[in-house]
Amino acid sequence: MRLSFTRRDVLFAATGSAAGLVLSPVPWKLLGDSAIWTQRSRFAPETLRGDITTRFSACTLCPAGCALRARCVGMPAVPVSLTGVAGHPVTHGALCPTGFALHHLMRHPLRLTGPAQIARRKGGVEATSRMADAVIASVADAVRSARTAAKVPLAVLDLRPGRMASLECRRPLAGIPGALHVVPASREASTFEAMRIRLEGAEGAVGPLGIDLDKPRTIVSFGAPLREGWGTPGTVPVLVTRQNQGSLRLVQIEAHRSPTAECADRWLPIRPGTEAAVALGLAHVLVTDGLVAPEVARRARDLDASFRTFVAPFEPSAAERISGIPASALRSLAHEMAEGSSLAIGSGAPGTEPLGPEEESAIAALNLLLGNAGPNGSVVGRHELPSPTLEGSLATEVPLTELADGSVGVLVIDGMAETVSWTLIASKLAKTATVVSLSPWLTGLSLHASWAVPSPAPLELLAEVLPPAGAPVASWGLALPLVAPPENAMAPAVFLSRLATALGNTAPAPEGAEALLKRRAAAIVAAGRGKVFVPGGALMAVADAGGPNGLYEKLSEGGAWIDDPLSTPTPLLRFTLLPPTHQEVASLAAVATLGRPERQGDAGAFLEPEGYVGATGAAPEPTILGKLGRESLLRATGAARRSTPVAIREV
C-alpha cells in the first residue's frame, strides 16, 4: 500500500500537533513560569543572602518619626523588611504604608544621588548631573546678585525645625549678611499653636500643647485625617478602639468623602474653604444658647466684651448659606459638643492646602469655649524638649508667614516633607529668585527648584526624632543610619558651610550629628525628668540610664525617652477668644464670611494621596503601596479615588 500525503494532510497533522500541545501542560506551564521569570529577570533586585540581624532606627520621612525594627541581611547589613517596634510608647508599634516600604525608596528611580540642575520641560522636569563645586558656585553667585535685588538675599526654609541639625545649619548662615533661617507653621499642631498664643500662663508664655486622647467623648475634625495617621500612625488604633467601644464619637467636617469621613460616626460635607464659618457658627450656638460653662466664661477675657458681638452674624442659618451644612445639624452638633467632653481639631485634609490661620483661629476659639484649656479639657500642656545651647552665633529664625511677599532672592529648602504649600512659598520669592532643594528625591517641593543638592535619605543618616504633633508629653528618639548614603549626597549643614565659604565667610566646620545628639542626651539627663523605653524591656528612670552616653546607647538600640507629664498639665488659665491683633480679627471675619474662593475648585475631581499625611509628598510612593491600597482598608470607595502625589499634580 502506498501512502500519499497532500498539503491538506500536513495541515491536519499540524492541527493535531497544535491540539496535542493545547491538551498538554506546555502552554499553561510556560505561561505561569514566564510570568515568574519576568519578576526574577535582571531588572528585579537580587535578594541578598547572608546572616540575618535585627537593627533599630526610625522613619524620618515625616515628623511622626515612627520607630523601626529592621530585618537586615548580610554584611554590611542591608535592611530587607521593616516593622514597627512593639510596645513603643509613642508610636505603639504602628507604621504607615510608606514607612513599611521606606527601604525601597533608597533605590527609587526618582532618587537623586548627586547635585543636579533642574530644568522644567513640557510634561515634567529633568535633572542634569553637575559637580558639587559648580552648583555651590552658581548658588553663591545668585546670593551675591540677590544682595541688591532682594530684601532677603538668602533664606533657608527648614521643614523640620527644632532639631539639633537645624541649629547646626544656622551657624554658617550667621556669617552671611541678611541670611535668615525660616521655619513653617506645623500643619498638624496649628490648632494647638493658635490656642497656645491666646493663653496667659502664670509665668508668661505657655509651653507646647498636646491632646489627652482618652478624654474627649466627641472629636469634631475639620478635615484632619484622624483615621489615616494624624499625629502618628499609632493614634489610629487608639481611636478605632475607642470608637468601637462606643466611648468616642467622631464627626468629620470635610468637603470630600475621605477615608476618615467614611469611618466617622457622622460626616458633614461642607463647601471647600468654609471651615471658619462652621466653627464660628458652632461658637455662636454655644454662646447664644448658654452652653458655655460658667468657669470658662469667667476665664475668657473677651467673651462678653467682643466675642459675642463678633460671632453674632454667624448664626446657624448664615453658616448654612456659607458652608452648606444645615442649620439644624450645626445646632445639634453644638449641643452635643457642649454636653460632654469634646475637642475640635483643624489641619485640613491631606491632598489639599492646609487650613489657613483664620480657620485655625476659629477652631481654637471653639476649643477654648468648650473648656479644653482647663483641668477637664482634652488639651494638655507639656514640657519643652530639653535642648543644649550651642556656642557661637546663630542666624536669626523667622516664621515663613512673617517674610514679606516677594522678598527672598535665594531660597534653600532643607527637608522633604511637603508640609508647606508651594503657593505660600512662591508668594515669598522675588521675581528672579533661585530655589535650591536639599531633598533626596526629585519630588514635592524639589520639582520647583533650579538646583538640587540631595541630602542623605532617611535610613542613611543619623537623625533625631522630636515629639510628634499633639503628643501629650515630650519624647526623643534616634534614627540610626542602616545603609550608606550615595557618595555625592551632602548633609544640609555641610552644603551651607561650603556655601558660606564660597561667599567669603569663614564658617565653622559642622560638628557632626553624633556629637550634637550626645549634647541633647546630656541636656535630657541634666533635666532629670522622664523615663527610658528599651524594646522588650520595662521603662527605666532616666537617672538609671547610665548618664548621657548610656542614654544615647539605649536610644541607639531602639529605645526612646519619654518625658514626665507636667505636674499641673492644665492649670486654670485666662485667655482671649479672638486673635490678638485687629488685623487678624478682621481677616478672620472676612474668611468666615466669604470663605476661600481659591479653594472652591477643590469641589471637582479629587485625588487623594495614599500614605500618611506627613509622608505624602515627602518621597515617591513605593510600589508596594499600590498592592496594599487594593487589598486593605486603605482602598477608597465612593467618589474618591486614591493616587500618588505625582499623578495628582499632573492632573
Binding site: 494532510d9 491540539a19 500541545l21 501542560p25 506546555v26 505561569g32 515568574i36 526574577r40
Partner: protein, 193 residues
C-alpha cells in the same frame, strides 16, 4: 481511517507525548547533590535522632536551616561509617573547613517569608511539608525550573499537580489551603513582607 484522520492523529500523538513526557524533562534541570546523605541512618534506630537535632531553631528563635559544618563535626570529626561519601565529606569539606553546597529542595522564592519557628510553635509536623524526607536513604537529584528558577518541589513532582499528597507542592495555594484547614489567617503580609 481516512488519511486526514491519520494525519491529525499523527500530529496529535507526538505532541501529547512531547507535552506530557518530554516537556517536564526539558523544563527541569537535574543537578546532583554534592554528596549522598542518608537521613534514614540518622533518624532510624541506629542514629535515633530527631529532625530538630540538626535542623534546629537558633538562639534568636530563627530556623537555622541546613546544619553547618560544626554541627556535623560533633560526630563526624573522623569517619564513623564506611561509605565513600562520608570519607569524602570529612576529607574534602570538614578538614578543609568548607561548607557543603547543599541544594535546598524546599527553598521558597525570594518574595516569600516562611517562618519555621511559627509553624513549629503551632505543632505542624515536619512531614506535613517535607513528607518522608527524613526517612530517605539517599538524596534525590535537585531539579530546578529552567524558566522560573524555582525548585521543582515548589510545584510538586507531577506536572498536573493532580492526586498529590499533602506535602507535594509548596505553591501559595498549598499554603493557603493548609492555613484554611487550620483556621489561620492568609493575609498577604503574613508571608510577603
Amino acid at each position: 481511517m481516512t488519511s486526514r484522520s491519520f494525519a491529525f492523529v499523527a500530529g496529535l500523538t507526538p505532541a501529547l507525548v512531547v507535552g506530557w513526557l518530554g516537556f517536564p524533562r526539558l523544563l527541569y534541570k537535574r543537578v546532583e547533590q554534592p554528596l549522598s546523605f542518608s537521613h534514614k541512618v540518622h533518624t532510624g534506630e541506629k542514629g535515633g535522632m530527631a529532625c530538630a537535632d540538626c535542623h534546629a531553631l537558633g538562639p534568636d528563635g530563627r530556623f537555622t536551616g541546613i546544619p553547618r559544618l560544626e554541627k556535623c563535626a560533633g560526630c563526624h570529626a573522623q569517619p564513623i561509617g564506611t561509605t565513600a561519601d562520608e570519607k569524602r565529606f570529612v576529607d574534602d569539606y570538614l578538614n578543609k573547613g568548607q561548607e557543603v553546597p547543599w541544594l535546598v529542595y524546599s527553598r521558597q522564592p525570594d518574595n516569600v517569608h516562611f517562618p519555621h519557628a511559627v509553624h513549629i510553635g503551632k505543632k505542624v509536623p515536619c512531614e506535613r511539608c517535607h513528607g518522608p524526607h527524613g526517612t530517605t536513604d539517599t538524596l534525590r537529584a535537585w531539579q530546578v525550573n529552567r524558566i522560573s528558577g524555582y525548585s521543582r518541589d515548589i510545584w510538586g513532582p507531577r506536572i498536573t499537580r493532580a492526586f498529590r499528597r499533602p506535602w507535594e507542592g509548596m505553591k501559595m495555594n498549598d499554603c493557603i489551603r493548609c492555613h484554611a484547614e487550620r483556621g489561620q489567617s492568609s493575609s498577604c503580609l503574613a508571608c510577603h513582607k
